[in-house]
Amino acid sequence: MQSKSKGPSLAWRFQRLLQIDAMNLVILIIGVYIVWSIISALIDNPARYLPSPIAVALSSVDMLYKGLLPSYFGDTLMRLISGSIIGLAVGIPFGLVLGINRTVADMFHPIMNFFQSVSGIAIFPIVVIWWGNSDKTIFAVILYTAFFPIAFNVLSGVREIPIRYISAARTLGASRFQVIKDVLLPGAMPHIATGSRLSIGFAWRAVIAGEMLAGQQGLGWMIFTGQDADRTAEVVLGMMLIGVTWIILDHYLLRPFEADTIERWGLVQR
């Protein structure tokens, strides 16, 4: 197997990112800015209902100056990264193990389906009774939400591998471990990539919701307390940060990763 990647290089991708409809984006941002300013100028009490873009920018400067923004941002990101890494590290082997045996897979499919439809946020009230308003609670919610999509995807990825590949490897004298390493893992790779993206996406929502509900410092907490303390500018700022962070994460990290993986491993011929 050659490890040379055929996908576009990182530098090329970065260049394209700069070119893509940059003009359009600028026009759009200016347009949104104007509409937003006009609306916030027209309504009563804009500081409460819709602060002007300038007010939001000023509040960001203020929070940067106090050092709150980087610390909140870092907290949230740390939770997301550690939570999703642990979730993936647990979920991938779990799905793999379940997927190896068809009977076991059939056995666990329905119960995983059931627990997946209990959304992570709904689990929050239970966890909060167990551990109170702590970091532990948020982590439990993040892990719960991140675990199921990836485990589920790996499970179905492994099950979709045609049985004859496994048989062929076995016939040629491969051990159980070699089958996992050379057949199951590469075969499930596209599903692993898709599942990871899904998992991290769900985990991101869970981080925000968990911080709001459990009252631990972070972006979710920032927008929630901002609303409590009548600092709507901070709320809007937090929302924009949440949106921008996710766009960067999703479009420039996770999606290319998924596309590359599918390109590299996905062309399994039937």
């Binding site: 359009n24 056995m107 329905p110 946020i121 239970i126």
Partner: protein
């Protein structure tokens, strides 16, 4: 006796199908195992009942919550004392209302954006941005705008499903080969004909998939919104119950939430999606 059992088992096998039966029985094993563990926990008290309530208490919570509820009529008329059914109905009502308003709006805007390149150039980035501010992040602002209550939760759900729907129908319309549109126009069809006979059927699989996805995300967002900024509904019910440390009510609520979601997804949205893809999905694509 044994012959009767074998006859029964073969007749069951014949009616349901061997494979299906096998899957059903296999799938039931972990559930039974879990219930047994749960029951054993109650019996041996590994974890105190404050953390894991006895199974009986969870079902007992139905009775506690529905106390003084005058039968079915009371539940339907949403009498004050039927708090469980009231919360279920108010969540479901919001889901239905949001679906009725949000889905057609999202589809309409999506088709417009898919039809028109210039419109989509401006609407697409907005859509990307709005989709990535997940529904939950809107909750504080929604509380500022609408206060705690019905409108906030409805807004969160609408917001979530509208943008997902918008995006999916836009992508669906974009995926249709230009040839179809051009042939309808050549044969003298109007703009309306193109929408009715080309865009809508062509984008149908994508629209229905988007519908299923948006209902899933919307339901999750709704539960979160009810917890933070609602005054009724299942999310509100479990959140207030957990604040009062009534863990049996929380368990009950969580089970109801997942059953409602699974039932709508399994028996309504998934078959609908499958049917649509079978009916409309195999659109020939010129190469």
């Amino acid at each position: 006796m044994t012959t009767a059992v074998t006859a029964l088992s073969t007749s069951i096998q014949r009616r349901i199908g061997r494979q299906k039966l096998r899957k059903f029985i296999l799938g039931a094993i972990p559930f039974v195992f879990l219930l047994v563990i749960w029951q054993m926990n109650t019996a041996f008290e590994w974890l105190p009942p404050v953390f894991i309530p006895p199974m009986g208490d969870v079902f007992g919570a139905i009775i506690t919550l529905q106390e003084d509820c005058i039968g079915l009529i009371g539940a339907i008329t949403m009498h004050n004392s039927c708090s469980m059914t009231n919360n279920i109905f108010s969540s479901m009502g919001r889901v239905i209302l949001a679906a009725v308003i949000g889905l057609p709006l999202g589809i309409a805007f999506g088709i417009i954006a898919g039809m028109n390149r210039t419109a989509s150039k401006f609407l697409e980035p907005i859509g990307v941005f709005a989709n990535s501010i997940s529904g939950i992040a809107w909750i504080p602002l929604a509380i500022v705008w609408f206060g705690v209550g019905w409108l906030t939760t409805l807004f969160i759900m609408l917001n979530t499903i509208f943008w997902l729907m918008f995006f999916n129908s836009m992508l669906g319309v974009r995926g249709i080969a230009k040839v179809y549109e051009q042939s309808v126009l050549t044969m003298g069809g109007s703009r309306m004909d193109v929408i009715r006979h080309v865009y809508l059927p062509g984008a149908m699989p994508s629209i229905i998939t988007g519908m299923r996805m948006s209902m899933g995300f919307g339901w999750r967002a709704l539960i979160a919104a009810e917890m933070v900024g609602g005054d009724s509904g299942l999310g509100f019910m479990i959140f207030t119950a957990s604040e009062e440390f009534k863990i049996e009510e929380v368990f009950l609520g969580v089970i109801i939430i997942s059953i409602i979601f699974m039932a709508t997804d399994r028996y309504f949205l998934a078959p609908l999606e499958k049917w649509t893809i079978e009916r409309w999905g195999l659109v020939w694509k010129p190469t």
